[in-house]
Symmetry: D2
Subunit: 337 residues, 4 copies
């Protein structure tokens, strides 16, 4: 961490800042130039509150050199994290597809789709029970009943289930859920993250629409600092000025995150573009870029889906995506198994 001191800083205040820093167990290297004095902090600075220092009158600016996250930092965990969900592994060469409908609608629907995607290679079943919708007038999901239907499908197919939580108070309903998803809009719902950190379940965190990769890792850090290291990161498109696609899939996030962290990184091509015909090319791109998995919306009847219809593909299209992705995986040295 580099602290640039103002030109006319009071010497006494500067000394007390230096003393405070040393008190935190850090060394300080001081460079005095004509226009500015610079303090270089040496040691583990991830718990230093940048805002606190920035607020001091004598400080011009604070520049981080090292990362503010530690549990999620590749530097301290050189080996890929492999998350194990009832025997289904993600990370470290293991690639998985999470597939299922946007919303759970009925026992028949969810079980039918579960069977279909399983046949094509998906090892995890997704389905929305609690649905975050921009409009209060739009369908909000079957909620508790949806979770029961998912559990039913899990029993029938053996696929572990992945579904989104919108509020920590719903946690008792999530007992049978294998992977709890934190949606993009809740990525910085810190109270929720802390509660999920105390669970023994895998947490899948989706990147917020306007959140940096560093912020995504800080949200993972919230869960991990609370004791739960089973975290999967999901890139699902960010908000930019472009309107041709619903969001802009940040494909570079995959190789960048793999440098920054040891956690598994997956891509959700369905939400990223919001267009069903883009799911195939973006899924192949994700696998080629080094992702550890995909999360894909599949619907038996997209024309009548209750929500997010435009971005869902049919089981027969999913079969093609899965087959082509597996061909790509061979080239990049990964496998679905």
């Amino acid at each position: 961490m580099i602290i640039t001191i103002k030109k006319d800083a009071d010497e006494k205040n500067l000394e007390s800042l230096i003393a405070w820093i040393k008190n935190q167990g850090l060394e300080v290297n001081i460079s005095r130039g004509e226009f500015q004095t610079i303090l270089g902090l040496i040691g583990d600075t991830h718990q230093i509150d940048v805002d606190l220092i920035n607020g001091l009158n004598i400080v011009d600016k604070v520049t981080r050199i090292s990362e503010p996250y530690k549990n999620a930092n590749r530097k301290f965990h050189s080996e890929d994290k492999i998350v194990d969900i009832n025997g289904v592994k993600i990370g470290g060469g293991h690639f998985q597809i999470i597939a299922g409908p946007c919303s759970v609608e009925s026992a028949d629907q969810i079980c039918f789709i579960a069977e279909q995607v399983k046949k094509s290679g998906a090892k995890l079943l997704r389905g929305g029970a609690f649905k975050p919708r921009t409009s209060p007038y739009a369908f909000q999901g079957l909620r508790g009943e949806g979770l029961e239907l998912l559990t039913e499908a899990k029993k029938q197919t053996g696929l572990p289930i992945v579904t989104e939580i919108m509020n920590a108070s719903h946690l008792p309903l999530f007992e049978n859920v294998d992977v709890i998803q934190v949606g993009a809009r809740n990525m910085q719902n810190f109270e929720l993250l802390k509660e999920l950190g105390s669970l023994k379940k895998t947490i899948l965190i989706k990147r917020g629409l306007a959140n940096t990769l560093e912020e995504l890792l800080m949200s993972a850090e919230y869960v991990m600092a609370s004791g739960n290291e089973d975290v999967i990161l999901c890139e699902r498109g960010i908000r930019t000025f472009e309107t041709a696609t619903r969001n802009t899939l940040d494909i570079s996030a995959v190789p960048m995150l793999k440098k920054m962290t040891h956690l598994p990184v997956i891509i959700d091509p369905s939400h990223a573009a919001g267009i069903a015909s883009l799911v195939h090319p973006l899924s192949l791109a994700a696998a080629a870029a080094g992702a550890d998995g995909l999360m894909i919306e599949v619907h038996n009847d997209p024309d009548n889906a209750l929500c997010d219809g435009p971005q869902s593909i049919r089981p027969e299209e999913f079969e093609k995506v899965s087959a082509d992705v597996q061909k790509i995986l061979k080239i990049v040295g990964k496998h679905m198994d």
Copy 2:
């Protein structure tokens, strides 16, 4: 609402879509062109689920002509909404400054600042008890104890209090709070919005960092559709590519929102820029652009504030801001009273 039908659409499916639309109580105007057929829906379309129609196989795209919000829509409420908080009015010519520290730290601190800002014209006291922080290692606020200290300051000064809620489960602690703030990161925490809609308290909704004005109004719609019409909107900067300021204050949001909605609109210059020296010019700009109020961080000792120090101003600076803002208000026909 305009529905563009694909060139080669099945005629039967088209007819059943038209029948379904008429069933919703809408009229349909059909234009058949060489390259596409267009359906114009006439009537109240705000409850129509765009995604549902977009998902149909025969549909090329759906274009909204009218707004998806109704309770918050200026078209249906031509007169400015005046929110009354224990006698303090905002909107319809009434301009108010909400001021106070970023975080509540102690009884002395909050009471001292409350007295100071009251003297300079602030009619509402703000102070953070539950603090959303990007890092799990940063100070998270005094929480319940902070709310007690705020209540104490309210008793001493008579100023109604404004503070942020992070989780609906904390609501029992907010009994003495006059205005409940929904932070930018929770703007689309729809479960929370619904719960706040059932209260008889004013709700102040901050715009999310990557949310459009329409989405902000949809969040207001969540609260209003649940029965609570006392909503204040707050622009506090959006996330853009510019890094010189922490966020980019969208000043045009003020006159645009005044066209779109009858609800009061305020500006938070402290968070928008993240730089104390910008609070004065941005406050004046907000008043000049037609805002109904300001939310400003004031600290007796910014050099030692526990968080967000860089953006807080001192009581004596606040006095100058308040005085100059009042001069601007005369020009635009508003008043602090």
Copy 3:
């Protein structure tokens, strides 16, 4: 095109607008609703000036349904455009890699790299002679001399050359250049585009950092409307809030552009991320997403490159990229030949 008329519009002005539209050879479908009247324009509207209509007092808003570009529109050109550069084909299943150094530095350097990339499969040589640099104090390229060195390398290797133009007045120097590149910062330099439209050379247009796909196609339209249909589009990253990578590669632009236009689409992974280690994964992702080619910076000695060093790869790394891309191409049914 849909024109929404204001509620209280003068009937006479409305009639004269309708007459004017019919004069343009279009049909008008009129829907009169309680809150607004809507005009649906049927026919070829791509030459209608939206701003002109938007400026009328009686008009509330104008919504485009069809695209404002025609020469570049897939709807009117269902078959892929195949651009032929001295026998090297791009588009319609033909995939090509354009490779070479950021800046041309010397005859030895450019000829050495040209031989290296040719050996690994590149069919076109790139090299910067005129360099757009943010700082006036940074190296600005060898300019005219650089073009001569490129011509030298072309003679030695037979590779057609691709290089950027910054000003139409430099055109006489570009006689031996096979593909003229319009840089991202010049994408809307309309005077330049018009001049390039009168040439018989292939024009490679890079997407501007803040330009939409529609605007990119409008710039192609400038060149094509002036008579030159040999246009290649290049996605090279857009500017967003994310700072971990220099720009955000919009991978979805590939399949979206393929739907919108028949022109070839290539990806520049070097500039998109600005990080050499990301060139391999992003190149594979581009090929997997359906791109028609790549533009890659290769340097024999990145540690001493005069500019853009961090994003250049070495010849041996390029060989690996090219080999792996060719494996991906088989899966998506394309070929480098």
Copy 4:
């Protein structure tokens, strides 16, 4: 400038880097930590090419502490620059409004508007002759003829004229132009900037839609480094995800630029929002935020303007804007004279 060295850097390479830096006339302060070594460069680093250093194999990252611009830097020019255009002063307390039509259409039109805006306090006349238009099918301006009509209006009213240049080859036509405007799309047309730097005319540079304040200052630096110090900066809205307004006016750019540079800063509220009814509130906001001037589109007949109609106001509306702006100026200590 801070250079972070990789953990396992070769000691010999590090030594030669340090020697090279010292050769540039800079001092180096070296901090060796467990995880990284940091070099602090002390002295004038604005001519150091960051990319060059970033490209070195031993370098992890380079962090600028001081600004890469010097001529435009407030640190070296503490007094406000006052630009004098034939006696009309901008900067240092002098506030001016540049007003006129989007496009010059006829002698009658431009002279009529010139008289009107002069009467209301404008001291400079703007008018577009060369028009950058996204579509090749839209009106491109009267070009050379437009410049003649502007000159005519200048003769009649005595108002100095401001108009945009699109290509350096048009310069001979600009002899009678007092202020040459560089449009947003040309802000990084470095060849053009260099040519303008050799003139003895004031240059008004508009910020690009996706350009940072630092990049805007680097473009000013291009002009200034070539010898022309009469530069005015103009904020006209940046491109963000928000679509309610055409662009997002970055009002914080005004006080930020005033800290970063001594050059005058003006606001163009017409292009920023693209909506005529927003010109009044945004003009007041600009004056309140500390701008040195405004650039406003005024049209005698916006309903029939040939371009950009929606954002132009009428002379009677301009009179009101000018009057209210002057009231604001008194509060912030500026004056139009």
